[in-house]
Symmetry: C2
Subunit: 196 residues, 2 copies
Amino acid sequence: MAVLGLLHESPMHGYELRKRLNLMLGWGRLLSYGSLYPTLKKMLRASWITEDRSATQGAITSRRPRIVYRLTETGERQFVALMSEVGPTAWEDGNFDIRFAFFGRTDMEIRLRVLEGRRTRLQERLEKVQSQLSLTQKEMDQYAAELQRHGVESVEREVRWLSDLINAERSQQAPTAPEPAEPSATTKTRPQGRNG
Amino acid sequence: MAVLGLLHESPMHGYELRKRLNLMLGWGRLLSYGSLYPTLKKMLRASWITEDRSATQGAITSRRPRIVYRLTETGERQFVALMSEVGPTAWEDGNFDIRFAFFGRTDMEIRLRVLEGRRTRLQERLEKVQSQLSLTQKEMDQYAAELQRHGVESVEREVRWLSDLINAERSQQAPTAPEPAEPSATTKTRPQGRNG
DNA sequence: GCGTGGATATATCGTTACGATACGTCTGTG
DNA sequence: CACAGACGTATCGTAACGATATATCCACGC
């Protein structure tokens, strides 16, 4: 999905795919060559993308050979299909981030459902841990307990973040009018995009 | 290391090892059987642990067969050696948590070095991203940018957490005054280990 | 005395994905 | 011109995951 999403923006070669991905998700998960190239091969075989070895985009300079990958129509349909899936695959730990990064190409209805699914998932986890917490803390030493506490706090913060995002989406949903040119929309609650 | 650490507390069978580990680290990383049992086999071969199939600890009741794993002296030495290692293996993403959870069995000097190493690691990452941030945010859409922002915020929070812990360790180490160690030096610094 | 469901418990299998690295090219710097 | 370091494609060995097979124990209602 990550590869499809990036190629959906524009054609690109492998090395750049990796760079873009790694600064997109940055901390923690990173896409290694050991998964990138096999993935590209699979997608080629499935005709979701095409290879382009000429790269004559610029003009001259006999640039060193690089393979530019481009999304086919099949691939584009795949991407759209993947992005409209709601379900565990959308909000599990390893998937949510990349899904969120491409929210710009999804309907708001889908966005809301994914955000809420993710939030519910985290809340379930919180409940589960907090029910065990009283039992376990007695036989845990100080450091293990502190690790627990910090973990819970992080997840709680994550839940609040999701709630803010959900509210922002909802308040956007209500006014279904084309945006007037007036600057009266000062305190609008859009997802604090750095409206650059 | 996680397995050694738990068996260091008390002998245990596989299923319980897994349970303990998963509520210790809980969110995110969890130990699957597919890595637990091969690991136990490897440790058996290396004589770090022994199998005990009788489990006659209680008394009667012909409990169903369960294999209790017990640390050997070799294994204990291994654990101590692992815990006194400082270096990237101690503060990388996947290792730090488990390392921290067993801080109770480590010298404060080691603890401080691991905490500081971890903090430095995160700060490096922050700098790297923030240097790219001005460049990248212009061509990122709103959601990708928000993901970045949230990521940075989380790491900053993590750094503050580490700093607090470091200060706590330091204030334990140096009571600001060169107070003569008049009372018995026994049973001090340990932060109230389990069961005290 | 029987069946059902769920927790306990050990173990393996197929696949994915990672980390390291090989191999080559281009670009800037002293 | 030499050299270091970024760029770029690609594979290999292995660690770890998720799913599942197998089996026992126990509480429950009936």
